[in-house]
């Protein structure tokens, strides 16, 4: 079974600075998807960024980028120019590539605080 580990329960960053959230995963599959989800205090989860494992290029969405190291099974999220609105719980998640298994496996999350 796949597992997702987020080793940082909490992180903090100064506004306008850069922060990196760590995620490692364990799988025997060669192709899969990885995600970072954000859960602000209002609790509605939203997708931040998505990476397909068969693509070597790291995904980027505006101030959010990932460092995907497939051999190391590492998938970190970098937030540049941090803003107060980035404060949230961040979850790393894994999904198998296809078939009928639609399940996402989530890590335990990292609570990010942004200090003004």
């Amino acid at each position: 079974a796949q597992t997702v580990t987020q080793s940082q329960p909490e992180m903090s960053v100064q506004e306008a600075e850069t922060v990196t959230l760590s995620c490692t995963y364990d799988t025997s599959e060669s192709d899969y998807y990885l995600f970072w989800y954000k859960q602000p205090p209002s609790r509605q989860m939203i997708l931040v960024i998505r990476q397909e494992a068969y693509k070597q290029q790291n995904a980027t969405e505006n101030r959010f980028s990932v460092n995907f190291q497939k051999a190391a099974k590492s998938f970190s999220l970098k937030i540049s120019d941090s803003q107060l609105g980035d404060a949230a719980m961040y979850f790393c998640a894994y999904r198998t590539l296809g078939g009928s298994n639609y399940k996402l496996t989530f890590g335990k999350g990292t609570l990010l605080t942004v200090n003004p």
Binding site: S42, L47, F106
Partner: protein, 114 residues
């Protein structure tokens, strides 16, 4: 994108009672997913609900405890039966968007069982 509404947003329940959570989506979707988020824990998939068929439950979750209805393509309910304090959690409804793995979530239903 999809807009998902859940009711109730929160509730306090007595041990041994049951509560039904409703999930309404603003568009027709094939599958709806129910997740549980226990305090300080990650999200765990309870079951996948398809319209017109029985829900598919994940390991550790059973229909008698978490019966699910899916009467049409925009609505689903999850019942938490015979509740105990261990059932105190946030229950989240979600649907998949246009891209694989892109889930849209409701705001969740926070249940506290006394």
């Amino acid at each position: 994108s999809a807009v998902i509404s859940q009711k109730p947003s929160r509730d306090i329940c007595q041990r041994g009672t049951s509560l039904t959570i409703q999930c309404q989506v603003d568009s027709q979707v094939t599958m709806m997913f129910w997740y549980r988020q226990q305090p300080g824990q990650s999200l765990t998939l309870i079951a996948t609900a398809n319209q017109g068929s029985e829900a598919t439950y994940e390991s550790g979750f059973v229909i008698d405890k978490f019966p699910i209805s899916r009467p049409n393509l925009t609505f689903s309910t999850l019942t938490v039966s015979n509740m105990s304090p261990e059932d105190s959690s946030i229950y989240l409804c979600s649907v998949e968007g246009g891209r694989v793995g892109e889930l849209f979530f409701g705001e969740g239903s926070r249940l506290t069982v006394l």
